[in-house]
Symmetry: none
Amino acid sequence: MPRVLIVEDDESMAIALRDGFEYEGFAPALARDGEAGLRQALAEPPDLIILDVMLPRMSGLDVCRKLRADGVATPIIMLTARGQEIDKVLGLKMGADDYVTKPFSFMELMARAEAVMRRANGGAGAAALEAYSFGDVSVNFKKHEARKGGRPVDLSQRELQLLKYLIEHRGQVVAREQLLYAVWGYEQIPFTRTVDMHVAKLRKKIEGKADEPQFIVTVHRVGYKFIG
Amino acid sequence: MPRVLIVEDDESMAIALRDGFEYEGFAPALARDGEAGLRQALAEPPDLIILDVMLPRMSGLDVCRKLRADGVATPIIMLTARGQEIDKVLGLKMGADDYVTKPFSFMELMARAEAVMRRANGGAGAAALEAYSFGDVSVNFKKHEARKGGRPVDLSQRELQLLKYLIEHRGQVVAREQLLYAVWGYEQIPFTRTVDMHVAKLRKKIEGKADEPQFIVTVHRVGYKFIG
DNA sequence: TCTCCGTTGTCAACGGACTGTAAAGAGGCG
DNA sequence: CGCCTCTTTACAGTCCGTTGACAACGGAGA
C-alpha cells in the first residue's frame, strides 16, 4: 500500500485529502505545518508528498527545496491557491513534480498523483504493468503486442494506453473524465465523445461479441469498468 | 466533529441554530455581531459559517468579503430575510457559497450545509463510504456493485446514491425533502413522487419481501429510515 | 368499529439523457 | 500525396428518471 504524506494546515482540506487517499487505497499521514512535514518526510520518506504552498512555520516551497537538497526523491505535488499561479514555475524549479490549483476536484489530484508516481517509478521500480491476460486475450504492453485466441491483434497507441489504464483499475468504475486526464493528458475537460469511440474500437478488437461486452462494461452515467 | 460559526444577532434564532447544529453533531460557536464574527472566523477558521446579512456593527456582506479577502476559504451560508432577495446575487458575488431566505426550515439549512461542505472538500470529504453490508445484501459503492445472497443486483446511479445516503444516515428518519436536496440536488423542492418511486424500486431489488420492508422502512408523514 | 382523508405503493408510459457506431474531418509522417 | 490514426459529428437505439393515475394503507375522530 503506497504511503502519502499530506502537508496542509487547513483542517477540513487535510481531512478531505486524508479520507480521499485512504479511499483510494493509500496509507495517508498528516502534517500541519512546514517544519513538521519536513521532519516526517525526512524521517521516513513516503511514496508521495502533497504539499500546500502556504503553510505556517515554513512554506511549501522551502520544504520542497530542503527535501531535494537532502536527496529525497519522492514525487511531490504542490497545492496552490488561484492567484498564486506564479508559484507554478517556482515550484517546479524547487523540485516539485506537478502542481494543482485550488479549487480542484479530487479526481484530478488523484490522476496527477498516479502520473507522477508512475514517472518516478519509470526508471527503477518497474511498477508499470508489463503484460496481462484475460479470457482468450493476452496483451504485452512492453512489447506493444496483443493476441486474441493466438492471433495477433493490431492495437494503436491510444487503444493500448486506454486498455492499460482500464486494466490497472480493473474492478473499479473509471469516469470518462478520469480517462481524459490519465490517458489523454487533458487538463481542461471538454465535452467529447472520444473516449466512447475508442472504447468501441477496443471492444471490436478484443471482445467476442462487441454488443455484449464481457470485459469492458458500461456503467450508465458513470463510465467504464474492466472485468477480468 | 465539524465546527460551525453562527453569526446572528437575534437571540432566539441564534439559540435555535446552535441547538440544531449541536444535535446534528457539529461543534457550534456563536457571534452576536459582524465584528465579533469576523474576529472569531479569522482567529480560528471553522468548517462552516452561517452568516446573517443584517447584523450590528458590520453587515454580513462585509464580513463575507473581508473573510475572502483574507484568504479564508471556509464555506459560508448567508441568511437573508424575505424582501432582501436582492442580496442573493450580491452575497454570492461577495463569496458566499449559498444563501437561505428566512423563514426557513432547519432541515433545509442542514441540507444546504452538507452540500456546500461537500463541495468545498472537492467531493472527497464526508462521502467516503466505500462499501456496506446488511442482511444478505452487500454493496460496494466504489465499484458500483451490489449483491444479494451472492447474486449480482443491478442498481442504477440514482438508486445507488439514494441507498448510500440512507445508509450514511442509518437509524435516522430522512425526509423526502432532505433526499431531494442531497441526492437529487434540487434547490427548490417541488411536489413530486420521485423519491417514493425510487424507494419502491430499491425495495424490490434488495428487500426479501418488498411489501414487508426490513431495511428501508416508511415513517408515515415523515420520510424513510434505513435499518441495518 | 367504521368512515374519511391525507399519505404511500405501484404500474405503465413518456420523454430526455446517455451510449454505440458509422462516417467524415483533421492532422502527422513518409 | 496517400496512408494512418485520432477526433468530431451525426443519428439511432437504449436506458432510466419522472410523472400521473389509481389502488392500498394509516390514523384521527365519530
